[in-house]
Symmetry: C2
Subunit: 345 residues, 2 copies
C-alpha cells in the first residue's frame, strides 16, 4: 500500500513545502530577476513533463513568460545543442538522475545561462548541474508511480510564479493548497465508485485545456502505467482536429474542466460527444452544469482560482487510477517492468 | 479514392514546391536574418503540429534555434498573451483558418515581432495576419486527412532551414525529395501487406525520437482518425518513463528508426519489448539490423540523411493507414464526424 500511503501523505508534504520553502523561493525569484530572461526552456520527462506543461500555462498567464519544452536529444545524442541566449533553463525531475536532463542544464551553464532545478533530491546530479535548487521536500517516494512529488512540483511552480510576480494575493491563496488536497482525499469513496464503473475500459481519451492540460496528460499517464489503459491525452482543441473520430459508444472520454474561460468550450464538446457520438463522458469539475452534462462526475472542491485547480485535480486523478488498478485486479504498487529511476540518454 | 489520389500526387506537389518556392524561401530567410531572433514560437494544430515538431528538431540541429510550441489558449480565451520579445513567430496551417492560430500571429504583430505563415492558402486569414507567407503550392486538398500538405509543410520547413543556414549541400539534397516520395510509393504493396497483418489492432504505441518524433505523432494521428485505433505516440525515451507498462503480447509497438545517432537506442528498446514483454514490433527503418530485429518491417529508401527521412517516412505512414482503414472495412475518405477545416478558439 505504498502508493496509497503516499497519496494520503500529500497534505502534509505540501504543507511542509509551504512552511519551509518560502525563503528558498524568494531568493530564487530575486536571483532570476537579476538576469535578462526573454523565454524559459524546461527539461523534464514523464510525470515531471506534465508539471512542465503546468508551468508553460501558469508562467505564461501570470508572469508573461514564453515557456518551451527542451528537446533533450539535441543536447545529447545529436551533439548540436541550440543557442540558449536569452533563456532561463529549468530542469524538473523527482530523482534528478536522468542523464539527458542533466545534459540540458550542463549546456545552459556552458552557455552562461541561468539554470535552476526543481527536484526531490538536492544532492542529485541535476541539482549539482544547476545554479540554484528548489527542493520539493516531499520525503522519500517509494512507489514507482509519482504522486506526492508531482503535486509538490506543481506547488513549487506556483510558488515561484507568485514570488517572481511579487503577487501577495497569489501567495496567500497558495496557503490553502494542503486543505484542497485534503478536501479531495475526503472524496476518496466517491472517486473510487466512479473508477469501479470504468473497470472494463482498455482505451479512452482524456481532455483538458489551459492550466489543466497538465492534468489531462497526467491522468492519461497514470492510466497507462497503473491500469494498462491506452489513454490518449489531448488539448480539447487538438482533439477536434482529428482524433475525435475515435469517439463512439464504447469509447470513454474524460474531461477536466473547472470553472474558467475554457470551461464552456470543453462542456460544449463533451455534450456533443455524448449526444452525437454516444460516447460516455466523465467530467472532473467544480461547476454543477459541467458535472450535470456528463455521464459520470468527479466534483472538485469549489472556490479555488482556476490556476490552483490542477493540484486538487491531480489528487483526484491519483485516487481514480489507484482504485481502477485494483478494480482491474492489478497491483498499483508494482506496475510491470517499471523502475523508480529511469536513466534515458 | 480522394485520399489515395492525393497520397500519389505527392512527388508532383513536392517537385512544384522545389521548382517554384525557391525565391520566396530565399527572400524569407534573408528577411528573418534582418531581425534579432533569440528563439522561435510555432502555432499549429493537428497534422501541422506534427510538422512543427519536425521544425523543433531540424531548426534546433541545423540552425541552432530553440523552438517552442505556442499555447494558443493564452492568446485567446485567457486573454493574457506572454511576451514574445526576442522571438520569431511561425504559424503552420493547411487551411490558415483556425481563429486560435490567427490570434497568435496577430499578437506577434501587436508586439512588433516578425511572423510568417506556412500555409496552402496564401489568401487565408493566417496569411493575412503574417508579414510573409510560405505558400505550400500543394494544390487543393479535398480528403479530410492531410497528406500532401503535411509533406509539403515538412519540405517548406527544410527549405527554410537550408536557406537560413545558406547550406548549399542541404539545398542540393532536398532536390531528391520527390524521388524519395516516389520510391516510397513504389513500395505500396509491401506496406499494404504489413498493414493487412495489423487489421485486428485497436490500440498500439508509436515511438520515434529526434527528427522522427514528428513521424511517430503523425502516424498515431492518422491511426486515430482513419483507423479509429487508440494509438499513443511517444518519444522512445518518454515511453520508458512509465507507458512501457502497456507493452504485452497483444499490444503492438511501431517504431520509426532510420539510421542516425538515435537508431541504436530505439532498436535496443524494441528488442527488449519483443523479448521481455512479448510485444510485436513493427519497425520503419532503412537499416537492415533494425528491420531484422523487428517482427514486421517497412523499409525506407536508403542513402538519405536522417533529417530528410521524415518526408519519406510520412508517405509510408499514409500508405499504411489508408490500407489499414480499408482492411478494417472503414472508408478513409470520410472519417466519421471530421470536417476539413476545424475552427477552434
Amino acid at each position: 500500500m505504498t502508493l496509497e500511503a503516499e497519496i494520503h501523505e500529500q497534505p502534509v508534504a505540501l504543507a511542509r513545502l509551504l512552511a519551509e520553502g518560502g525563503p528558498e523561493v524568494t531568493a530564487l525569484a530575486s536571483w532570476v530577476r537579476g538576469h535578462e530572461v526573454r523565454y524559459v526552456v524546461i527539461a523534464a520527462r514523464g510525470t515531471s513533463d506534465n508539471a512542465a506543461r503546468y508551468a508553460k500555462y501558469l508562467w505564461g498567464e501570470r508572469n508573461r513568460l514564453t515557456v518551451g519544452l527542451a528537446a533533450p536529444s539535441l543536447f545529447g545524442p545529436y551533439g548540436s545543442p541550440p543557442s540558449l541566449e536569452g533563456s532561463l533553463v529549468v530542469g524538473i525531475s523527482q530523482s534528478g538522475r536522468s542523464p539527458d536532463l542533466v545534459a540540458v542544464l550542463e549546456e545552459a551553464r556552458r552557455q552562461g545561462r541561468p539554470a535552476f532545478a526543481v527536484t526531490n533530491d538536492p544532492a542529485s546530479p541535476l541539482a549539482r548541474a544547476a545554479d540554484a535548487v528548489l527542493d520539493l521536500r516531499a520525503g522519500p517516494e517509494r512507489a514507482v508511480a509519482a504522486t506526492k512529488t508531482y503535486t509538490a512540483e506543481l506547488l513549487a511552480i506556483a510558488l515561484f510564479s507568485a514570488a517572481l510576480a511579487e503577487d501577495r494575493r497569489m501567495l496567500h491563496e497558495l496557503n490553502r493548497v494542503p486543505d484542497l488536497a485534503e478536501a479531495m482525499l475526503a472524496r476518496a469513496h466517491q472517486v473510487e465508485d466512479v473508477a469501479e464503473a470504468h473497470r472494463e475500459i482498455d482505451r479512452c481519451a482524456v481532455l483538458g485545456r489551459g492550466f489543466n492540460l497538465a492534468t489531462a496528460f497526467e491522468w492519461a499517464l497514470k492510466l497507462q502505467e497503473l491500469c494498462y489503459v491506452a489513454a490518449l491525452a489531448f488539448s480539447s482543441a487538438d482533439f477536434e482536429h482529428g482524433p475525435i473520430a475515435l469517439a463512439e459508444p464504447g469509447f470513454s472520454v474524460f474531461a477536466v474542466a473547472p470553472d474558467g474561460p475554457l470551461r464552456a468550450s470543453v462542456q460544449d464538446l463533451t455534450a456533443r460527444l455524448r449526444s452525437r457520438h454516444g460516447a460516455p463522458v466523465l467530467a472532473m469539475s467544480d461547476h454543477p452544469e459541467t458535472l450535470a452534462a456528463a455521464t459520470f462526475g468527479i466534483r472538485l472542491p469549489g472556490s479555488m482560482p482556476e490556476w490552483e485547480s490542477p493540484i486538487a485535480a491531480a489528487v483526484g486523478v491519483q485516487l481514480f487510477c489507484a482504485a481502477l488498478s485494483r478494480s482491474k485486479s492489478l497491483d498499483p504498487d508494482t506496475p510491470r517492468t517499471l523502475r523508480k529511476v529511469t536513466r534515458t540518454r
